[in-house]
Amino acid sequence: MPVNPKLPNSIDETLGVLAQGEYVAERSLATAIFLALRMQRPLFLEGEAGVGKTEIAKVLAGALGRRLIRLQCYEGLDIASAVYEWNYPRQMIEIRLTEAGGAASRDKLEKDIFSERFLIRRPLLQALEGPQGSPPVLLIDELDRTDEPFEAYLLEVLSDFQVTIPEIGTIKAAEPPIVVITSNRTREIHDAIKRRCLYHWVDYPSAERELEIVRRKVPGVSAQLSREVVAFVQQLRGVDLFKLPGVAETIDWSRALSALDRVALEPQAINDTLGVLLKYEDDISRVRGAPVADLLEKARLVLPTA
């Protein structure tokens, strides 16, 4: 197995690499990432929105000094926007010019206009043509948003790290890119894709870890406030809500409270800023008022320590 000197050599080193990028990861996640890097397998991350799935790819790219290529998925994503496209206007002009310039044979013309000169490279193709020795990080974001035909195509790309362009031939990656696939699980991704990947469910972090995340991401916030914020959010995740707040919301909320010059949590301030944490009216009205005071009281009993 070819070992890139820059890649981490153990799970502990992987944790170190992530910490460099200000990413506080559970050891389980570091294990999956380490395996993905060493076994050159795509990493499949599933989890609720706002738990930091996309961030992992960005941090990996930054810490390993790789280029990040992002493919945002959506319904109807096709080859023309995911893999490659021909530059039609230029091809048209080329045809006219050739015809104006005299009789060129049709075969030659066809060969000319379907050459690499006229090829527009989209993310998947770019990812396969990375520089030798330092292949890019390919982030396939929110795969659940696209449809089965694209999944099937992706399967082909991920198993051999090559794509076939009928007019040119097969393009194969010299070295497979580091692939990170994320899904919010709005539908089940086919098992065939998952089988080719290393799977990891990214869960909400524990209180201690979340506190660490808030401290790193929002350095300005007071120690007391950050502890209370984390404890409160952890309590809130125990409530039957339509959409639980993720880590992204915790960070946003800390920033919001800090911008409002709060140094400690109080029910009034929470009620006023609930919209930062909860994004559904049903959820907000369920929690606003008395439940907030209740949760805060409970949260104060279990403040996390650094």
Binding site: R27, T31, L35, M39, G76, A80, Y88, R195, L198, F242
Partner: protein, 398 residues
């Protein structure tokens, strides 16, 4: 890195473990076993936690497999050769504790004897009553035996289902396909064609949106008042599930059960047998509000993506007298493309919604299909036929 030979006891044990997982219902193929051994060579097996997560990342493909894996791991590797120590301990805040009883199939797969299994049981986990709001509700927990279908019935059912047309129109997807009457120009096709023909005129190739049926989610009431229809609707759901892709099926009475996986079995009798095992609240009361709320919280985001339509089969008779019902219906209605309510108790013409549940639910449905006296698939096929239901026209591009 610790030197781990891929031969030897460890690899054998991993193989046995994989086999146990397979028997317990987690699909772990031989390729994954090979992968896991490679992965273990990479991570080393010095820490129990790392060993655990290495196997998890290779063997698992879904979150819901996790619990089974966790229990299997604890049972299988508890007294194996691993360098176990409390310090390296297993991760998982909030994971099921050791006291939990392993599911019977897991115990079977691991070859636990009846006695061993008995010892694992703790008194508190013997039964887990739903401690939610329904304190006064007595749940009728019973399993149900369906008569098996005769060959003749089966043939007839197949024929009926083949002719069945759901009140659900295909919708345009964002994926394009060549279409001579399409409104978008297919530049690639055009250019290729231009090279083949004579040069002066370039005929435009066109393309347009592909049409496809939307994902379908069926929520079927199996409470006491619906019991005479249950068998028929289950056959109906089984047929639909096996007829098209992207169908999810749930049944509810006092609790919600996802039966999609069971209904994917080809054989109708075996599928229904599995369902009757899985469902605990046959012919009991109904808590429509509570179960719909549970659906909204736990499932809606996972199965209602991509413009799914919901077929709700219920008589609207709610034991909870509409607690939570309007909110749950509204949320459901807003989360799906179209909500169709099939009600077997109401007549076609001039019905009066008397039951509170019905009145509360009606404002939130897009189409309403009264299906009075439906007792067979034939009736259902007739009801769902093109002319009988009152629905608005489908927009093609919502």
């Amino acid at each position: 890195m610790t030197q781990v030979s891929t031969e030897g006891k460890l690899s054998q044990n991993v193989m046995h473990f994989a086999r146990a997982l397979r028997q317990a219902g987690i699909a772990v193929g031989p390729d994954r076993v090979v992968d896991s051994l490679r992965a273990l060579q990479v991570t080393g097996v010095t820490r129990r936690g790392d060993f655990y997560w290495t196997l998890a990342s290779v063997f698992l493909t879904r979150r819901d497999q996790f619990e089974l894996f966790d229990q299997a791991f604890r049972l299988f590797w508890s007294n194996q050769l691993l360098p176990d120590s409390a310090a390296a301990g297993l991760p998982l805040a909030g994971s099921p504790s050791d006291r939990d009883v392993p599911p019977a199939r897991l115990a079977d797969a691991l070859g636990l004897t009846r006695k061993a299994r008995f010892e694992l049981e703790s008194p508190q986990s013997a039964d887990q009553p739903d401690s939610a709001t329904g304190a006064s509700q007595v749940e009728a927990l019973r399993h149900r035996d369906f008569e098996t279908m005769t060959a003749g019935e089966l043939v007839q059912a197949k024929k009926l289902i083949a002719g069945l047309r759901l009140p659900i129109a295909d919708i345009a997807t964002r994926r394009l396909q060549p279409d001579s009457r399409g409104r978008l120009v297919d530049l690639r096709g055009t250019l290729r064609a231009s090279l083949r023909g004579s040069a002066d005129v370039i005929p435009l190739r066109r393309r347009w949106h592909q049409h496809r049926h939307p994902p379908l989610v069926i929520l079927c009431d199996i409470s006491g008042s619906m019991s005479r229809y249950s068998r028929m609707f289950l056959h109906f759901m089984h047929a639909i599930t096996n007829d098209r892709d992207r169908v999810h099926t749930f049944v509810f009475g006092t609790r919600l059960t996802n039966i999609t996986r069971h209904l994917r079995r080809r054989d109708v009798d075996r599928a229904l047998g599995a369902v009757s095992q899985a469902v605990a609240d046959w012919s009991g009361g109904t808590r429509i509000g509570a179960t719909l709320r549970e659906f909204n919280l736990r499932w809606s985001r996972r199965v209602l993506g991509q413009n799914a339509e919901v077929l709700l089969i219920s008589d609207g008779l709610d034991r909870d007298a509409g607690v939570d019902l309007p909110q749950a219906m509204e949320r459901l209605h807003k989360s799906c493309r179209k909500l169709i309510w099939l009600n077997p108790l109401l007549r076609f013409d001039g019905f009066e919604p008397k039951a509170a549940g019905v009145r509360l639910m009606l404002p939130h449905v897009d189409a309403f299909v009264p299906a009075h006296n439906v007792e067979s698939l034939a009736d259902l096929a007739r009801i769902l036929g093109p002319s009988h239901h009152n629905e608005g026209r489908h927009g093609t591009w919502k």
